[in-house]
């Protein structure tokens, strides 16, 4: 499935997905994400956004088209934090490095760095049950960061946290995007979140999911929290929203 011919850190070429029960989830998806790009796909619930990420990561084989991506160190942030409850924050963050066979000293270095990056210093020895939803998500981000993945996939990771925490996490994600220089593909149904973080927003239609609109987001990084209250931001939000509504009819 992995071919090295196409440009971009991650590229989809004519992806189609029809499930065994006959549901057509995706139709002819073609786009690529490059290093330095943060692309967000917004779409209604059940439009196949998450299916696209599962295909990108190789968890699912598409029924049409092909994906080109290096799956060796793919970053994948799940909807839930998916922390292992029997491991402390640090042990959780070291899990992926452990699975990839890194030495203990290297794991420790990587996890310390990642813990600092997401601001969880001081919580290394806590178990997940004593963390808030936002902190769990930070730990999940840190776990992925230890691999320094060239491609970062986000599957609606901030859907379950409250609005303020979500805004903080958005700010941090775009900060990490700046400092870690990865190719980001983010899935959400929140238009504000999409416009705030991304270099580009794609609008996906209801099932079968197709890309029906594309918006370049011109704001420069690092983006300030106040950006959310600026007229240009509101206008873009409105345009994306309009496209999303249009795709519903």
């Amino acid at each position: 499935m992995t071919t090295a011919t196409t440009n971009g850190a991650l590229s989809f070429d004519g992806i189609g997905m029809i499930f065994p029960d006959g549901t057509e989830a995706l139709q002819d998806i073609t786009f690529s994400v490059d290093r330095g790009e943060f692309i967000t796909v917004v779409g209604p619930s059940g439009c196949g956004k998450s299916t696209l990420l599962r295909i990108a990561s190789g968890l699912l084989e598409p029924t049409a088209g092909s994906v080109a991506v290096d799956r060796d160190r793919l970053g994948y942030v799940f909807q839930d934090a998916t922390l292992l409850p029997w491991r402390t924050v640090r042990q959780n963050i070291e899990l992926l490095a452990e699975l990839h066979g890194f030495a203990a000293s290297e794991r420790k270095r990587l996890s310390t760095e990642a813990i600092e990056l997401v601001g969880l210093t001081g919580f290394e020895h806590h178990y997940p049950k004593s963390l808030s939803g936002g902190m769990k998500m930070r730990a999940s981000l840190a776990r992925t960061l230890t691999l320094k993945p060239p491609v970062f996939l986000f599957d609606e990771p901030f859907g379950a946290v409250d609005e303020i925490t979500r805004e903080h996490l958005n700010e941090e994600t775009q900060r990490l995007f700046q400092s870690e220089d990865f190719a980001g593909l983010f899935i959400t149904h929140s238009i504000r979140e999409a416009v705030y973080m991304s270099t580009k927003v794609y609008v996906m239609s209801a099932r079968p999911g197709r890309i029906v609109a594309e918006f370049d987001i011109p704001f420069s990084y690092p983006r300030q929290p106040e950006l959310r209250f600026e007229p240009d931001f509101a206008v873009l939000n409105g345009e994306v929203s309009h496209a999303l509504r249009g795709s519903h009819q």
């Binding site: 292992l84 699975l99 601001g119 903080h168 690092p222």
Partner: protein, 299 residues
């Protein structure tokens, strides 16, 4: 907020701390309230069972001394006589304790073997659905056989000594271990499995780092049930086979045959005490092993 402030990695952490601080404050209020009423809470916890126990003893005396006439009093001796003859008479008490120890050994050996077999079968079944389908019906069949129905058969095959008693323990305690372990092994989240798949974990790593730790809460729930059943198995086996080292089961039968009412009741009390100790020990083990991270561990 200035440009530098937002790009500073600590800025969001501070606000997260504030959220955590708020949570701690609201958490503290009911805790302080709880401290005040702790004595009262203790009384409310202890008093009802003590009262009921007192009523039970009074009823026992009433039955023993008032309802039953003197000629048939051996059927239910009053509590103080049970204590006198069963626990304070050193010969009797030593005999019972050594019987109890013998049965405890049988129960523990049986439980250890049941745990080994149970873990092995559960792990095998967790690796392939087809194996689960193949093995499970036979486990259910084994479980469905009333233990008393196969006790004679066990004696027929393994004799009437220690071995047969251990076999009874294994058969009676195996099922909860298998079912709970299997359920636990299969309980890990779909997304967690995806995480391991994404990072190319092999079968053994997945079992060791994901499925087995995830299974522990269910495994301990199964162990608590099985440990109790194993004690029952040891006593039932001893009661029926009646040869070899004297266990509490043989003593129970002898006391009943000889109409030693006091000893009989004392032996029953000791047997149930053993069951309680075993159950409590496994509860403690569970708490020590997974209490730190598991949300719903009973205190």
């Amino acid at each position: 907020m200035t440009l530098q402030e937002t790009s500073d990695s600590e800025a969001p952490a501070v606000s997260e701390d504030m959220v955590a601080g708020r949570a701690a404050m609201t958490d503290d209020v009911p805790k302080a309230y709880r401290v005040k009423s702790r004595t009262r809470e203790a009384i409310e916890t202890v008093l009802p069972p003590v009262l009921l126990g007192g009523l039970f003893l009074a009823f026992w005396y009433y039955l023993s001394l008032v309802v039953i006439d003197e000629g048939r009093r051996f059927l239910l001796k009053p509590p103080h006589q049970v204590v006198d003859v069963g626990f304070l008479d050193s010969d009797n008490f030593t005999e019972m304790l050594s019987g109890l120890w013998s049965s405890t050994k049988v129960a523990l050996i049986g439980l250890a073997i049941a745990i080994s077999i149970g873990f092995f079968l559960a792990i095998i079944m967790s690796q392939a659905k087809v194996l689960e389908r193949a093995v499970f019906p036979f486990m259910v069949t084994l479980q469905a056989i009333p233990i008393l129905a196969i006790v004679p058969l066990i004696g027929f095959w393994w004799g009437y000594g220690q071995t047969s008693r251990v076999v009874v323990c294994i058969i009676i305690s195996l099922f909860p271990i298998i079912v709970n372990t299997l359920f636990g092994l299969l309980s890990a989240d779909r997304a967690m499995h995806d995480l391991f798949t994404l990072h190319h974990a092999n079968r053994l790593t997945r079992l060791r780092k994901l499925m087995f730790p995830a299974a522990l809460p269910a495994v301990f729930a199964g162990l608590r049930i099985s440990a109790g059943l194993s004690v029952i198995g040891a006593i039932v086996g001893d009661f029926f086979f009646g040869r070899g080292e004297v266990g509490i089961g043989q003593l129970l039968r002898r006391y009943a045959n000889n109409l030693n009412g006091e000893e009989l009741l004392a032996a029953v009390i000791l047997s149930s005490a053993l069951g309680i100790v075993v159950f409590w020990t496994f509860g403690w083990l569970q708490n020590a092993a997974i209490g730190k991270w598991h949300e719903a561990v009973q205190k």
